[in-house]
């Protein structure tokens, strides 16, 4: 989110406190002092993770402290994990395989990179899944494993889990 603060000491610290109070996790802060505006305010870009449904409460808390919230960009699917699939991916209805993840509402296939060396030979693909939470990612991977078992596709999971 992009915040507008008064250019006086302690303003940034004051703006960060409501975020931690509400259980948010700050990932990055971009604070450029030379971009002050005519009204002697400055803008700060903050990337943060928030618990579900806490965004409105945070915006209210910031406004009470006199911080203007200029813009909020939402990224719902924060978890990302890539897996490798080996098998007859096209002939076992790849669209259906992808749909089973997309239909969940909590996870989506965001990337697919497929290599098909020869007709009738197994193809290999890297599939990238995005999901809302780590639990959702585990659930999505479990669904993919079930689909793969039905279609005789080998799934290679990463060691170390989601990013």
């Amino acid at each position: 989110m992009k915040l507008e603060l008064k250019d006086t000491p302690g303003q940034l610290l004051g703006a960060l406190k409501p975020i931690s109070d509400i259980g948010g996790n700050i990932i990055t802060i971009i604070h450029q002092r030379d971009q002050t505006t005519a009204e002697n305010t400055l803008t700060v870009d903050i990337v943060l993770e928030l618990p579900e449904k806490k965004l409105d409460a945070l915006i209210d808390a910031l406004r009470e402290r006199g911080c203007g919230v200029i813009r909020v960009g939402k990224e719902r699917l924060l978890q990302k994990q890539s897996l490798i699939m080996i098998g007859h991916l096209m002939h076992t209805d790849l669209t259906d395989t992808v749909d089973r993840i997309d239909q969940t509402g909590f996870a989506e296939v965001s990337e697919l990179h497929m290599v098909m060396p020869a007709i009738d030979e197994p193809s290999t693909a890297k599939i990238t899944i995005r999901a809302i939470s780590p639990e959702d990612m585990l659930h999505a991977v479990r669904i993919l494993r079930e689909v793969a078992a039905q279609k005789d596709i080998l799934i290679l999971e990463p060691l170390g889990g989601a990013e």
Partner: protein, 326 residues
């Protein structure tokens, strides 16, 4: 202390060579078709020479039953080949020796994977030890490492490269661009893979080792059929390239997550800088503990001398614990 060696293949013979200078006396040796017993100690170079010439370590007329009934040993060392389904005939031999009040040291995965809890109880009742360091990851001291070195820790997860044959094949596919059949053939030519490699490449060998670790050190009670097993025989070169493009590779990983009661063996995508990415036939085990954090063990997982090293460690532990002042 007096030792009886049951099984006289590569491991048994390697052990016999190593034991010559250790102060242990070998009083009996048996292979699958013969045996020899001398209550005062066998002449090991002579037994080794006879085995090499004739294929038999002793006389065809006697066998394991005669060694057991002679009682002329303090520790039975069971190093015959693994039977993953029943653990037999080694399981019966070990049971008899423990019931007689004899210590047992084994490299045989079958009896430990199939009946550890029963054998341990039998050993405890009879006041003797059951050593099995050599059953998992050869020379790597994972059993004593977890039981003694990391005592008091709770293991949150265990991941391991537990099959040297699979690790060799996957290393060669990555490094040289060999296909799976080419890498398997090379492993056979070098003696790293059996003529029938099913047991290794399908992940069964690694799964048996996980069963041993889970049941004997992580407080679980599982069988081989509880392990979710996937082998490496359908891994493509394209899969290795896709992994490589993300700075990763593919290795057969055994995984135990005690809190989720999850035990599985499967090829996994693993970052190249991960401590478990070891080359060739090496074995590696990483445990994540509540107090110690991550700890990784790496070493030779097979071969007569690495295996003899693990057996000798158990033998020395028994001697230090039970033979003070003798």
């Amino acid at each position: 202390m007096r030792i009886a060696i049951i099984g006289f293949g590569a491991v048994g013979q390697g052990l016999a060579r190593v034991l010559a200078d250790t102060g242990f006396t070998v009083t009996a040796v048996a292979d699958s078709r013969s045996a020899c017993i001398n209550k005062d100690g066998l002449d090991l170079p002579e037994v080794l020479a006879r085995k090499e010439e004739s294929g038999l370590c002793g006389s065809a007329g006697i066998g394991i039953a005669d060694i057991l009934s002679s009682g002329a040993f303090d520790i039975l060392v069971e190093v015959s080949p693994t039977n993953a389904e029943t653990g037999e005939p080694a399981l019966s031999t070990i049971r008899s020796a423990l019931a007689m009040g004899k210590h047992v040291v084994t490299s045989n995965k079958g009896p430990i994977a199939c009946a550890y809890h029963e054998l341990k109880a039998l050993a405890d009742i009879n006041g003797v030890m059951l050593g099995y360091e050599a059953t998992v990851a050869g020379a790597v001291p994972i059993v004593s490492g977890l039981r003694h070195g990391l005592a008091g820790n709770t293991v949150r997860s265990l991941h391991g490269i537990l099959n040297g044959t699979c690790n060799y094949i996957l290393t060669r596919m990555r490094d040289e661009g060999l296909t799976y059949p080419q890498a398997l053939q090379e492993a056979r030519d070098l003696g790293y893979a059996e003529a029938d490699p099913t047991y290794d490449v399908k992940g069964i060998d690694a799964a048996i080792k996980l069963v041993i670790l889970a049941n004997t050190l992580l407080g679980m009670d599982i069988r081989l059929s509880d392990v979710d097993i996937t082998g490496i025989d359908s891994i493509t070169l394209e899969a290795l390239s896709l992994a490589e493009s993300e700075g990763a590779t593919i290795r057969l990983i055994g995984e135990i997550l005690p809190e989720r009661n999850q035990v599985r063996v499967s090829p996994r995508v693993i970052p190249l800088d991960h401590p478990l990415v070891v080359d060739g036939t090496l074995n590696a085990i990483s445990v994540c503990c509540d107090l110690a954090g991550p700890v990784t063990f790496i070493g030779k997982g097979a071969g007569p001398y690495p295996t003899a090293s693990a057996i000798l460690a158990d033998l020395n532990f028994i001697r230090d614990s039970y033979d003070r002042g003798a």
